[in-house]
């Protein structure tokens, strides 16, 4: 962005105003740029520095090499957290996308009260994960919620104790998270569906394509950008999910529902192992970066092609 050429015969005041006009956007943007640099990238750097230090209760800056990373990868808690993230991430992203897509397609059938139904599915997104977690905690508690109600209806052998079962507890988090997010994914797909050219659909219908074929062959392939955005958004939500776990299970039973984010918090702030906590934060950052960077790259390249 070069300065525009100054026409001859202008007064110094004019020139000053001209200069200001050119520089004003930069001046206005600079405070937020400084704040972002400091509080986002500065603290990322600080965390990286801490992960190579011997910090325990407070930050210290004696260099310890990869000591914290070695400790991190030898901790059984960390492997539990990663396993849980794998289960949670795959199921959460996969099922949210599927359910969101299915809801969007069904809502797209020009049904009568769409305006009422759409917000119903979307409203869970307006809740904070803490509220979702607490509500589902009560609902899934065997002595309080669903199991008790079904038993009271007469099925006295009915058991649904996932919340208190260490092997199944992680799936309760999946259920609550899907309940919260699939409406949002639906909205994204719905927007995508509405953007598809009607001519194309009509042409396919004239050619005698069945509704299934129509969706499978024509419509869904055209939703690629919506898929990409949905997966990216869900993926980073999965990696950073913390509040839902804390509210729903508190990481328990035992440490059966530990996730990397809860691991990071507890090691940094309650276990006085700040370096290990920082190391886990760096690993999480790298995981998210591995997802986001290719996406950004693809997006920017798309711009070059003038899409």
């Amino acid at each position: 962005m070069g300065a525009p050429a100054m026409p001859r015969g202008r007064t110094p005041t004019d020139r000053a105003i001209g200069w200001l006009q050119v520089q004003l956007p930069k001046l206005v943007l600079s405070p937020s740029l400084v704040i972002v640099l400091l509080f986002v990238y500065g603290f990322i750097l600080w965390t990286i520095v801490l992960s190579f230090s011997r910090s325990r209760i407070l930050p210290v800056y004696t260099f310890a090499g990869f000591d914290a990373y070695e400790r991190l990868w030898s901790l059984p808690n960390w492997s539990v957290a990663l396993q849980n993230l794998a289960i949670f991430g795959v199921l959460y992203i996969g099922l949210c996308t599927l359910i969101g897509l299915a809801l969007a397609i069904l809502l797209d059938q020009r049904i009568r009260i769409e305006g009422v139904l759409r917000p119903i599915y979307l409203y869970p997104m307006a809740l904070s994960f803490v509220v979702t977690g607490t509500a589902w905690k009560w609902f899934l508690n065997p002595g309080l919620g669903f199991e008790k109600v079904v038993r009271a209806w007469g099925w006295s052998d009915f058991t649904f104790d996932w919340l208190v079962n260490p092997d199944m507890a992680i799936y309760t988090i999946v259920i609550a998270a899907i309940w919260q997010s699939s409406g949002f994914v639906m909205a994204m797909f719905l927007a995508g569906l509405r953007g598809i050219d009607n001519e194309l659909i009509r042409a396919a219908q004239i050619d005698g394509a069945s509704p299934f074929k129509l969706y499978w062959r024509i419509i869904i392939p055209q939703l690629r950008p919506a898929f990409l955005s949905a997966v990216i958004i869900l993926a980073h939500m999965a990696v950073k999910s913390y509040d839902l776990v804390i509210a729903l299970t508190g990481g328990g039973p035992g440490n059966a529902t530990e996730l990397p984010a809860t691991f990071m918090y507890s090691y940094t702030f309650t276990r006085n192992q700040m370096a290990v906590g920082a190391a886990s934060a760096v690993i999480m950052l790298m995981t998210i970066a591995a997802i986001i960077v290719p996406y950004l790259y693809a997006e920017l390249r798309g711009d070059d092609r003038g899409r």
């Binding site: 930050p59 065997p142 208190v164 508190g250 035992g254």
Partner: protein, 418 residues
């Protein structure tokens, strides 16, 4: 860059936390997590006491049992060079902060008040660092208690069990009557509270010290420890299936309502019973975990005095003096359910359980059987304590299937955390 980040963050925190705080009157800012009804009432006594001496109390409560959130706030305050005057703290946290060189010196006051004589040596371990008094201990809680519903005990015809086998027999009888034998909340620290007592009753005081305080690998990996885990699994079988995540006071409520027979919990539970109108010693029986009479595993609440400028120093000393006054310690403990940290406070006015607690404490201190509780940060540093929590709670919840495995994991976890 780093320095700038630090300074900026520090400056910001200072602005946030001291906004509107610059006044001339002597003022003590106290960071604590005593926000529940009884605790707040107990703290109010101290506040009134200080106001009588012209010192303003600036409350800085950070809710959250165990003080996790409070410690996070403290970290920010100390990093920014603006520590509060005093902070309520537990056990090894005190020593960790002392190691960072952030705490003040109370030696003069301690010498004048004869603190060396009136505070049990086991408590002094946490109030002194490098021969310097750094904290004023308020009270002592002991954790090897069982609280039983007297009506349930009478109904099934049991009295206070005195040995492990008697305890199991009692629990069986309660179950046979269709009542949940053991009220318990499945949170790591509660599981560890059981673990404390089971280690103590299985191996005795010396074993407890060797395994959980000295962290001796031999003791941690011993056969005794294996039977400790076997016994934990046995206790687990008396807990109702909905226990994961339950708060301790809800477990106490089960005992109060007679839904459950007994609860293994420190004596802060007494506050819940009293608040529900139950009389300790009459409606609720209190007894030491079977096989641990004579031993006391404790945790102590202390106010750590941080290093502050000369302007805030006089008020800080005034606060420390007020905390150490016998009258305050007695009235505070009566409300909180604990025992005064000073050993020269008469037991008049305490209920039966409180009187027994004071007597037990004196005996245990005299025979060197007053030992820091692992579950409550008084046996090992936070990193080690949490590593042990992991194993205990995993085993208790069925994540670790056998005692052999549990012992192996315990030894490895402690080694990794040191």
């Amino acid at each position: 860059m780093r320095k700038m980040v630090l300074t900026m963050a520090g400056a910001l925190l200072t602005i946030l936390t001291t906004a509107g705080g610059l006044r001339a009157a002597p003022e003590v800012e106290v960071l604590h997590w005593w926000t529940s009804g009884g605790e707040a009432a107990a703290l109010n006594i101290l506040k009134k006491d200080l106001e009588g001496k012209g010192v303003t109390w600036k409350d800085m409560p950070v809710a959250g049992g165990g003080g996790t959130q409070a410690m996070t706030v403290l970290r920010a305050r100390v990093s920014s060079g603006n520590p509060p005057v005093a902070v309520q703290m537990l056990g090894f946290d005190i020593l960790d902060w002392a190691e960072q060189g952030a705490v003040g010196d109370l030696n003069e006051l301690a010498a004048a008040g004869g603190w060396d004589m009136v505070i049990p040596a086991a408590l002094q371990k946490f109030s002194r660092y490098d021969a310097k008094w750094i904290a004023a201990p308020v009270n002592v809680h002991s954790t090897n208690w069982i609280w039983g519903n007297k009506a349930v005990f009478d109904k099934v015809g049991i009295s206070q069990p005195a040995t492990w086998d008697e305890l199991i027999a009692s629990l069986d009888k309660i179950r046979a009557a269709g009542i949940i034998p053991l009220a318990h909340g499945g949170q790591p620290w509660q599981d560890a509270t059981l673990f404390d007592s089971v280690v103590l009753t299985t191996g005795g005081g010396d074993f407890y010290k060797k395994a959980l305080i000295e962290l001796d690998a031999g003791a941690l990996g011993s056969d005794t420890m294996k039977s400790v885990f076997d016994r934990m699994a046995k206790l687990r079988s008396y807990v109702d299936p909905n226990f994961p995540g339950r708060d301790w006071n809800l477990a106490s409520a089960m005992v109060i309502k007679g839904e459950a027979g007994m609860q293994i919990m420190g004596d802060w539970a007494k506050g819940e019973f009293v608040a529900a109108g139950k009389k300790p010693g009459t409606d609720v029986v209190c007894f030491r975990f079977p096989g641990t009479q004579g031993n006391v595993t404790f945790n102590t609440d202390q106010f750590v005095m941080f290093k502050v400028g000369a302007d805030r120093r006089p008020a800080q000393l005034e606060l420390a003096k007020a905390i150490m006054s016998p009258a305050f310690q007695a009235s505070f403990s009566m409300i909180k359910g604990s025992v005064p940290a000073r050993n020269d406070v008469p037991d008049t006015g305490f209920d039966d359980c409180g009187k027994k607690a004071m007597k037990d404490l004196k005996e245990a201190a005299a025979s060197d059987r007053l030992m820091g509780s692992l579950a409550h940060r008084h046996a090992a540093a936070a990193s080690v304590m949490n590593a042990i929590y992991d194993v205990v709670t995993n085993h208790f919840n069925g994540g670790i299937k056998s005692s052999d495995d549990a012992v192996k994991r315990l030894v490895a976890a402690v080694r990794a955390a040191r």
